[in-house]
């Protein structure tokens, strides 16, 4: 009952004109970003963060705007998957498999509306899952001391590569690189400068927003320059939407699919290291095995093959918020970016968030419900409008993305130095993506590096310099075990799953939602 009272308070916070407008704006921008190939949830949210700050939005308002973008992008990705057979973002990859064949049969409108409904179902129930699961996780997390936190951070890094990357060594490299970057600046405990090489600008450390925008948004511009993908992927003649309501029989047929996929997607989202892409992948594969044993209909325009990945990825998007809010440890790229928002606003996510800033948590959750209804309303009748967006050619879009990134970062600090660092990260991001090094562990490393080190040092200082304190409690040992299994298991069995997921990958492969 307490939960419902908190939720009611949350609605009181979210239902102000400013917050409703922000949610509406976020949903609209998010759907566009999701729909456009080249802009996904993580880089979409990344370029908006600096703007949210420089506009002076408070924590709740910023989070409402940015999570609406996140949810919106999950809806938007399906549009170009279905109409053009090009995933608008990574989680929408699986939607191509049955969505495009449906569109070829002249059922594009039905596929779009059905996937809109599936997205709604997935996101709606995942938000309920978030409400009930997150407080339980908080109860466990309150038992954590510094040693357990250190183990938890290690767990996050070690499991991250299992799903998102094809090569564990590269994922470990990325994590270490991110952690190393976080070390730059004055050491918080002793006050000595580290890795600054006398550069005054570096004493404060690298601003992780600069790193995020550079790695995610600018590197995308370089990818487009490399391939000179200047032309729009859609022309007016190719987009024919047709009837926009799915027949009742189709809804009935897909209802069990949506329920199963929502549950699977949500679980996939909560697990560390997995994001919405895994959610949609698991949901689609499971559904295919369950209802289409002979492989007759899936891949040829089966409505269930459209509903499953869409319910799955939206449910996973909600599930991924659970560890981010309750533990302060995000498991996917976009939730890592959202964590950056919280950290920049001096809010430490984790168990204390629920007691210290209940307004932020419950306001955010209420806003997610509101955003979800807005998205359903936007994505069915207005889907025609969003299909027009696909006709914007990247040669116009990408310069705008670059310039908005510059404006945002310049707005925070007003210094050219940060812009130069951002360009550096943009080039670095391009090189690393070429090498198939995942970018998410780098971001997570720069975000969590200092907290991880502080917990390590606190744990050992409390125990008078005894390093074995790190594996002293059953809880810590358990976390280390999971971490080690999470790192080793993919080396043995994981290659197959990842190879399958990456079969349909593209240049966006190393950015995980």
């Amino acid at each position: 009952m307490e939960t419902f009272a908190s939720l009611a308070d949350g609605f009181a916070i979210a239902l102000t004109w400013q917050n409703i407008l922000l949610a509406l704006l976020g949903c609209f921008l998010g759907t566009i970003m999701g729909a456009l190939p080249g802009l996904g949830p993580s880089n979409g949210v990344a370029i908006l963060i600096p703007l949210a700050f420089t506009l002076g939005l408070g924590p709740t308002a910023s989070l409402i705007l940015l999570t609406s973008v996140y949810y919106g992008a999950m809806y938007g990705g399906r549009i170009s998957s279905i109409l053009l057979n090009i995933p608008g973002d990574e989680p929408a990859m699986m939607t191509c498999l049955d969505g495009y064949p449906m569109a070829k049969k002249g059922m594009a409108g039905q596929a779009l509306s059905l996937s809109g409904i599936a997205s709604f179902v997935g996101a709606f129930f995942a938000t309920w899952g978030l409400i009930f699961l997150a407080p339980q996780l908080v109860k466990i997390a309150l038992l954590f001391g510094p040693a357990e936190y250190f183990a938890l951070f290690a767990l996050a890094f070690m499991t991250l590569g299992g799903v998102s990357s094809t090569n564990q060594a590269k994922s470990a490299f990325a994590a270490a690189l991110g952690l190393g970057l976080a070390m730059i600046g004055v050491d918080t405990q002793t006050g000595v400068p580290r890795f600054t090489f006398g550069e005054v600008h570096l004493y404060d450390g690298l601003d992780f927003l600069v790193a995020i925008v550079g790695l995610f948004a600018l590197s995308e511009v370089f990818i487009f320059l490399e391939h000179r993908h200047g032309d729009a992927s859609a022309s007016a003649s190719k987009i024919k939407v047709g009837r926009l309501t799915p027949p009742m029989s189709m809804l009935k047929q897909t209802t069990p699919t949506m329920i199963r996929s929502t549950i699977l997607g949500f679980i996939a989202g909560v697990l560390p290291g997995a994001g919405a892409s895994l959610g949609s992948f698991i949901s689609y594969s499971f559904e295919k095995r369950l209802v289409d044993k002979d492989g007759k209909t899936f891949g040829k325009g089966d409505p269930r093959g459209v509903a499953a990945p869409e319910a799955g990825n939206n449910a996973a998007a909600g599930g991924a918020l659970v560890p981010m809010l309750a533990l302060g440890v995000p498991g996917s790229g976009t939730t890592a970016v959202l964590l950056a928002v919280l950290l920049s606003l001096n809010i430490t996510p984790g168990p204390l968030l629920f007691t210290q800033n209940p307004d932020v948590v419950w306001g955010l959750i209420a806003a997610l419900f509101i955003a979800n209804f807005m998205l359903l309303a936007m994505n069915i009748p207005m889907v025609g409008l969003f299909t027009r967006v696909l006709m914007v050619p990247p040669r116009i879009l990408m310069p705008v993305v670059a310039m908005v990134s510059f404006v945002g970062i310049y707005g925070i600090s007003g210094s050219s130095f940060d812009l130069l660092v951002m360009i550096g990260f943009g080039v670095l991001g391009w090189v690393l993506r070429k090498f198939d090094v995942p970018l998410v562990p780098i971001i997570l490393g720069t975000l969590l590096g200092n907290a991880m080190e502080n917990n390590l040092r606190r744990a050992i200082t409390i125990d008078n310099g005894d390093w074995f304190t790190l594996i002293d409690s059953p809880l810590a040992i358990g976390l280390w075990l999971v971490a080690i299994i999470g790192f080793v298991l993919p080396l043995i069995v994981g290659r197959k799953v990842k190879a399958k997921m990456h079969e349909r990958g593209d240049d966006e492969g190393s950015i995980s939602d």
Partner: protein, 143 residues
């Protein structure tokens, strides 16, 4: 082959990082762990993972032709110039050039590039500065 080079560069980076960590001056007020330990652990992981990459390389990525590589380099240089000249020229002028250049390199014609550059620049100025009140770099002409 690419991965082997990448791994070697990573190992060099790890060694450099470890040396820089050892060079950190300890303060007289230090905790039990000190400011060096964690960076050294990171350097070790960085080195080991780089070694693993070098020993067990993936297939080489499809590298762009020299021309395309120059393209990316040129874009980076334009962006650096943009960052440096932003406070000198002001937001609108600098952004016109940078956005125009990028859209030209992505395949717009000359007139279309000029139009996109001016449009992007003025559009961002209007939305972010005039409507939302964000402070942008101010040049000698006041915008």
């Amino acid at each position: 082959m690419s991965d082997r080079i990448f791994g070697v560069v990573g190992i060099l980076l790890a060694i450099g990082f470890a040396f820089a960590a050892l060079a950190i001056e300890e303060s007289f007020l230090s905790d039990a762990v000190g400011p060096k330990a964690f960076p050294l652990i990171i350097a070790a992981i960085l080195g080991l993972s780089s070694l693993a990459i070098a020993l067990k390389p993936d297939a080489s990525p499809a590298w762009p032709s020299l021309g395309r590589l120059a393209e990316i380099l040129a874009a980076a240089v334009v962006m650096i110039l943009y960052a440096e000249l932003l406070p000198e020229l002001g937001f609108i002028i600098a952004t016109c050039f940078a956005a125009g250049y990028l859209t030209w390199r992505l395949g717009s014609g000359f007139l279309a590039s000029v139009a996109t550059g001016v449009g992007t620049s003025v559009g961002i100025y209007v939305i972010f500065h005039l409507v939302l009140g964000l402070s942008l770099a101010r040049g000698p002409l006041g915008f």
